[in-house]
Symmetry: C2
């Protein structure tokens, strides 16, 4: 586990050779000592041997990673699942052509989506994760000693199996005895949850096209609110301020109607997500007020989890508060819709 | 100027059509109604008609933008200069294959590199910009009513000319009567500056390979320190925490030796820069102490500049403070080297 702590932002960067600089950089066409990696048909490639993330969700741009080796390709009932070894971001999990995590930067997403809600309330005990089949959010929830019960509802068993096989430092979250895995539809699962069951719900979903679409809609938020105790919190993946302000605006409007406590937007950097950032909606139900911007349950002050999971690579209490500070163009839109 | 305020993060995102979702997204191979844009030879392309940013500074990854039209290509004494119309980021300026600015996200970089230093000191009067030939930093410096004199030393006249022709909302910074443009080497310019001339120096450089290399070295920082008044400030482009921690570490060590006041690192999101973030070194010389994290000269409280330059799109006092909060992996390295 100690090695895992080395990966964030610390991979060696190749120093440029003199002949490579000043604009004459040639495209690296080949991998594996001369043979371009053969990519599966469902995987977009714009350079032979490179994976490119192309989607109508971010038209006109694409991020590409050099592929060393395809480790897995499968098609579940819900989506295409691919794992490849990249040359500079470690192993990469791709669902329906979209990067879900890389070993190099997964810490930023997993730590922020988990500790932003859990460090904002005193002594979280019961936590539900919707999606999150890779196990990374579970790993982060498990750091909290106060937590007694962690339910996870993931729709796609293949994601869980693939993560356990290829991302042991992420899937390690499944090993905690407090975790119960439910394979199934998160929307249906939530409807069956008795009112007021959870202190926190974390919605670790993919983009709102494909299997995750319903997780961005108002009836789903209403189910989440019902499943939370008074003053409970939800944190849901909420896209990019640079690319998806119209989606974010809709989410904020829906959340403002559903959640009677506070409604907030936070964001963080994740280099392999489109535009390099991802945001989160953080809301609380009516009850004891939650001031998300001021963490009252600092996980970085408690060192007991480090022995099992290694040190936090990304999250700390300062970056928690900072995550709620928005660029002016986003602040104007979001704060006007989030105000009571 | 009012239209300029519309561009940040507000370009319409095409809603996905049903048949485009679930992994079956086809690569858009063509632009301009069927004909792929012809790219100049010095411009890397991984999809026909798309520009790809490939560099040994970020091996194994590449960001690509769809090209609508090449607007300019030239070769100056220092670098290749290209301007193209992208399909979703507006016009794009590329130097030696590396994106310098796009109309859609330039606000984040220009506003942060300028207002982080200028809002940290009372009444900045004399400001020097090294590099910054596009004029965007000048535009932002000009918002400060207290400023009496703005010198800029840019090595490459072609950058200035191209910006004036293709990026009028950026090059507008050159129109302020307080601005004096010097075409020449920033290192030599600084050596000739009388001691203690400036309140602030902003180093808006490209990456430390190519013409900007010396701007990351210790003798240059020493010249900057000499050119500043006691308690004066410098802000210099300082790469990405995700990609270049070893470069950042070197810069911090150099700055700690040279600047006898405070030494700080801040960062912001810029989607079209590698890894989606860019950082800044902010240092002060011996004299009245400067607490960069707490802006004492808030430009967002003064509305007088809005009439000329439009509202700030990105910067505000909250995001100023937040920019100094670092992810744990970067905080550990930087704070240990920056400490006195």
């Amino acid at each position: 586990m100690a090695e895992a702590a080395q990966s964030a932002g610390e991979l060696p960067v190749k120093r440029p050779r003199e002949e490579e600089v000043n604009g004459a950089v040639s495209v690296e066409m080949e991998v594996n000592n001369g043979a371009a990696a053969e990519l599966p048909e469902c995987m977009s490639s714009v350079i032979p041997g490179w994976f490119s993330e192309i989607s109508p969700m971010w038209p006109g741009e694409a991020h590409s990673l050099k592929v060393e080796k395809i480790l897995y390709q499968g098609k579940s009932d819900y989506q295409n699942v691919i794992v490849f070894q990249s040359s500079t971001y470690g192993k990469v999990l791709v669902l329906d052509g979209v990067i879900q995590l890389t070993e190099r930067d997964e810490c930023a997403y997993q730590e922020m989506i988990t500790h932003l809600p859990l460090c904002s309330i005193p002594n979280p005990r019961k936590v539900l994760v919707i999606g999150g089949g890779d196990g990374g959010v579970l790993r982060e929830v498990s750091r909290h000693a106060s937590v007694e019960k962690i339910d996870i509802c993931e729709i796609d068993k293949m994601v869980v199996d693939v993560s356990k096989q290829f991302f042991p430092n992420v899937a390690v979250g499944f090993e905690d005895p407090r975790v119960t895995l439910h394979i199934g539809d998160g929307v249906a699962f939530l409807k069956a949850v008795p009112e007021g069951t959870y202190d926190a719900v974390i919605v670790d979903s993919s983009d709102p096209i494909g299997p995750a679409q319903e997780l961005f809609e108002k009836p789903f938020f209403a189910s989440v609110a019902k499943a939370l105790r008074p003053g409970g919190v939800v944190c849901t993946q909420a896209e990019s301020i640079w690319l998806h302000m119209h989606i974010i605006e809709d989410i904020v409007v829906n959340c403002r109607q559903v959640f009677k406590g506070s409604v907030n937007y936070a964001w963080t950097t994740v280099p392999t997500y489109p535009s390099g950032v991802i945001g989160f909606m953080l809301c609380s139900t009516e009850g004891p007020p939650v001031e998300f911007k001021n963490p009252i349950n600092p996980i970085d002050a408690d060192e007991s989890h480090v022995k099992t999971y290694g040190p936090l690579k990304f999250y700390n209490s300062e970056i928690h508060s900072a995550a709620f500070c928005l660029p002016s163009f986003a602040k104007k839109v979001i704060e006007s819709k989030a105000a009571k």
